[in-house]
Amino acid sequence: MDYAERLENVAVIGAAGKMGSGIVLLLAMEMADVGLKAGNGSRHRVLHAVDVSHQALGGLVKYLREQVQKAAEKRIVALRTVYADRADLVDNGDIVRQYVNDVLDVVRPTTTLEVAAEANIIFEAAPEDLSLKLKLFARTATDNPARPWVFTNTSSIPIQEIDEKARLGGRVMGFHFYNPPAVQKLVELIRSRTTTDEVGAFAEALCKNLRKIVVPSADRAGFIGNGHFMRDLLHAVEEAGRLRAGMPFVEAVYCVNRVSQDFLVRPMGIFQLVDYVGLDVCQCILAVMNPRIPGENLHSPLIDRLLEQGVRGGQNHDGSQKDGFLQYQQGKPSGVYDPDAKRYLAFTEFQAACDARLGPLPEPGLPWKVAVRDPARETLLAQFFGALRSMDTAGAELARRYGARSRDIGLKLVSDEVAHNAHDVNQVLLTGFFHAYGPINEFFA
C-alpha cells in the first residue's frame, strides 16, 4: 500500500477536540490534495471523524468550512493550476467553493467508534487517559485483521507501553502535534522500540507534505516538549514556595510569573502558560511522567490543591482564557488566586511593590515581541542577558536561577538521550513554545 492508497481511508478519534479538529483539518486537506493530483482522482477517500457527541461534531464541520475556505484563499494561485482543466470553474470564488466542497466531501462525522476499524490509519486524539485510549484501541485496532496503523497524539504516555498493552505489534507511533495543529509548525515524532520502519517512513512523508518541522524524540514519558515544560513549571512552583518565606503567596506567584516572562524574554509568564494549557492537563501529564521517571518527584501538591478548589485554567468555547493561577481581563492577567482566601487578588493591590522589589529590567529593554522579529536577535539577547548577569537585584537573581535551571533541564534531556542533541531541544522550545532562544545556550552557562 503506497502513500496515496494509505490515505484512502483514515479515522480520527476525538475529532471534535482541540487537537482532533485541527488534525482532521490537516488530514482532510492532504487527502483532498492527493485525490486532486493527476492519476489519483477517481479513488474514493474517506476520513471518519469520530467523537462522542453530535453537537461537538456540528461545531467541527463549521470550523472545517471556515478554515478550509481561509486556506483556499491563501493558496488560490496554486489552486487555479490544480483545477486548470475544470472549464466550469472560472472565478477565484468558484475555485475556493469547489475546494471547500472537495475537502468536506472527504470528512464523515460520526459517533460510531467501530467505523474506525475500517481505516488504514487511525489518528488518536482522545483525552490523555491511558485506560481510555486502550479501550478505544481495543475496539478499533487490536486484533483487527486489516492491521491499521495507529498514530497517537499523546503528550506524555510512552508508545512502547501503548503498543504492549493494546497489542499492536509495532503498528503504533507517537505523532505529537502542538496546539493548534493547523498553525503550529512543530511535530514531535516518537518511535517505540518496536515501531516498524514502514510506519515511521509514512509519518515522515506525511509531516513533509504538511510542511511540519519534525523533531524526533525518544520514547520517554513527556518526550522533549513536556519533558522541559513540566520540569520548568515545577521549578517555578518551587521558586514561588521559596519566596513565600518573605512575601504572601499571591506576590510570590506574581514575581515568578513576571520574571519568567519579562526578565527571560519569553512570550508569556510560566503561570500564564500553565493556565493556557490547563491545570488539569498539567496534572494529568505529571501523573503519567512521575511513576515512569523515578527519583525526580514530578508532582505538584499546589496544582492538586488548586484543582480541588475548582481552579482549572484552559479556554472557553470562544477561545478566551479561563481563570487559573491568574485571573484574566480581556485575555490579560489581572490578578492572582489565593488558595487560603479562595479568591483572586487584583494585581493593583501589590504589583507596584513587587515590581519595586524585583528591580528594573536590564537596559536596553528587550520585549519578547521585538526579540522574535529582529533578525539580529542573537546580538540583542546577548546584550540583554549580559547586562542581566551583572545586575544585583532580586529580579535578576531570580532570572539567573530560572535560566540556569531551564538550561539544566535541556542538558539533561540530551544526556538522558530523550533528545538526540541540543539543537533538537532548542528547536522544540523555539517552534513549539515560541521562545526567542533555546534553553541550551551560553547566556546562562
Binding site: V77, L79, V90, D91, N92
Partner: protein, 413 residues
C-alpha cells in the same frame, strides 16, 4: 481631433477620502459608508461651490462594477439623491472599467459642446472593500475579456501587468527598471503624505525604496510585481462641475477659479486582442497624441501630469507613451527625479493611484480635481509651481489593459 468649438471649463472639484487599508480609520470588519454616502458627499461638495443644484443642468456618473461590489445598478438615479434640486434632471451612468471616471468627464464635456447643458455635474465612484481582495480580483477581471479569465492569474490584472513588467525587464534590463518602479512608489507615497484625503496619508514607513524593492513572490502573488507595485483596494468618490462660459457666469464663478479643457483624446482598442507589444501602451500613446493635437501643443508645454499608475510599471510605460522619454528610457526619466514633485514634470502630485488610492470609477474624476487644484492654486501642501511658459496639464485615465483611454489637456481659465 479639431480644436474644441466652445470653451469648456471645470470647477468646484471635490474628493472624499480614499478609504481602505492604510487609513487609520479603516477596519475591514466594521460597517462603513456605502455607495450612496460617497456619491452624496462628493456631489454636495461640488454643489456648495457652484451655487447649488439650481445651476446644474445635467448629471453624469462614472462607475465600473457597483452591480457586483454593491449589488447596485441604475446609478444615474442616485444623482438626484445628492440634492432634491437634481430631481427630474437628465442623468446618465457611463462605464469603461477603470476609465469610467474620465468617460463621465468626456460625456459632460460633450453635453457642454453640444450646448444641451451649461453646467454638468460629473461624479465618479467605486466602493470595493465589500469583498476580500481575492474576490475583488474576480470582479475587476471583467475589465479584461471574460474568455481570458480562466487561463488568467488568480490576481488577474496584477497578472497582466506583471507580464508587461516581465517583458520590459527582459528587453531593457530588470535592475534599473525595478529601481525606477521603487522610486515611482516612493514619489507616490511622499505626495500622498501631504494630502489628507489620500489612502497613504498615514503611511509612516521610513525607507520607502527598501519596502518597494521586496522581491516578488510568485507562490502567493505574481511573478514580476510585489504588492507595493500595485494600487490598493479603495472606496471613494470624486466630483467636479463641467461648464460653459455661460454656466460659470450664471454661477458667479470667475474663469480664474476654473480650468479650461483645451484638448481631448478618447481612444478605444479591441478588448479581444492582446497588445501587439507588451512593453508599450499603444492606446495610451494614441489618446495622448490626440489630446495634445486638439490642444495644439507639444508635450514640452506640460507643467504636470496625472497618469493612471494602477501599477508602478504602468506609470513608467505611460511616461514613454506620453512622449516624455523614448522607449526603454522611462526608468531613467523617473530615476533622474523628473517626475518627482520637485522635478521637471511632477507626476501624480497627490499620490496617484498608488498613493492617493484607486476607487476605480472615481479615479478619472480625481485626476481632474487634482489638476484643477494645482492650476488654480488650491492644492495646499501638495501645491507645485506652474511655470508661466508651460501652463498646461495632462490627465490620462485608462480602462482595462490599455483598452479604454481618455486623455485631457487643461490650462488655467
Amino acid at each position: 481631433m479639431n480644436k474644441l468649438r466652445r470653451n469648456v471649463y471645470m470647477t468646484g472639484g471635490y474628493n472624499t477620502v480614499s478609504m481602505g487599508t492604510g487609513r487609520k480609520e479603516f477596519h475591514p470588519k466594521q460597517s462603513r459608508p456605502g455607495l450612496e454616502d460617497y456619491i452624496c458627499e462628493a456631489g454636495r461638495g461640488v454643489l456648495q461651490q457652484v451655487g447649488g443644484a439650481g445651476n446644474i443642468d445635467e448629471g453624469v456618473i462614472g462607475n465600473f462594477m457597483a452591480a457586483r461590489f454593491n449589488s447596485q445598478g441604475n446609478l444615474a438615479a442616485l444623482i438626484p439623491a445628492i440634492d432634491a434640486g437634481l430631481q427630474w434632471k437628465p442623468c446618465s451612468r457611463v462605464e469603461g472599467a477603470c476609465c469610467s471616471g474620465a468617460l463621465a468627464l468626456s460625456a459632460g464635456i460633450k453635453s457642454v459642446l453640444a450646448e444641451t447643458a451649461d453646467m454638468v455635474l460629473a461624479v465618479g465612484v467605486e466602493v470595493q472593500n465589500t469583498v476580500k481582495a481575492i474576490y475583488g480580483a474576480d470582479i475587476l477581471a471583467a475589465a479584461g475579456w471574460s474568455r481570458e479569465r480562466k487561463a488568467g492569474h488568480a490576481y488577474f490584472f496584477p497578472g497582466k501587468f506583471s507580464d508587461r513588467a516581465g517583458a520590459y525587464y527582459e528587453k531593457y534590463g530588470r535592475d534599473r527598471t525595478r529601481k525606477a518602479m521603487a522610486r515611482w512608489y516612493r514619489n507616490a507615497i511622499e505626495n500622498a503624505r501631504l494630502c489628507p484625503t489620500a489612502q497613504e496619508y498615514h503611511n509612516t514607513s521610513a525607507d520607502l525604496d527598501a519596502v518597494a524593492l521586496a522581491e516578488p513572490n510568485p507562490r502567493s502573488f505574481v511573478d514580476h510585481l510585489n504588492v507595493f507595485d500595485c494600487s490598493k483596494v479603495s472606496d471613494g468618490a470624486s466630483a467636479i462641475a463641467i461648464a460653459s462660459a455661460d454656466g460659470l457666469k450664471r454661477a458667479g464663478i470667475p474663469t480664474s477659479a476654473a480650468v479650461e479643457i483645451v484638448g481631448i483624446g478618447q481612444v478605444e482598442a479591441d478588448l479581444t486582442r492582446p497588445p501587439s507589444d507588451p512593453t508599450r501602451l499603444e492606446t495610451t500613446r494614441r489618446a495622448v497624441q490626440c489630446a495634445l493635437e486638439s490642444a495644439g501643443i507639444t508635450v514640452d508645454r506640460l507643467a504636470t501630469v496625472e497618469t493612471h499608475d494602477c501599477f508602478t510599471i504602468a506609470g513608467i510605460l505611460a511616461v514613454e507613451a506620453i512622449g516624455l522619454a523614448d522607449p526603454g528610457k522611462g526608468p531613467d526619466f523617473v530615476l533622474d527625479g523628473q517626475t518627482a514633485r520637485g522635478g521637471h514634470v511632477p507626476f501624480n502630485t497627490t499620490g496617484g493611484l498608488i498613493g492617493w488610492g484607486h476607487p476605480t470609477g472615481a479615479t478619472g474624476v480625481h485626476q481632474a480635481v487634482t489638476i484643477w487644484e494645482q492650476l488654480t492654486g488650491r492644492a495646499h501642501r501638495n501645491q507645485i509651481e506652474i511655470p508661466t511658459d508651460r501652463p498646461y496639464a495632462l490627465s490620462v485615465n485608462m480602462g482595462g489593459d490599455d483598452k479604454t483611454l481618455v486623455a485631457l489637456v487643461y490650462r488655467r481659465g
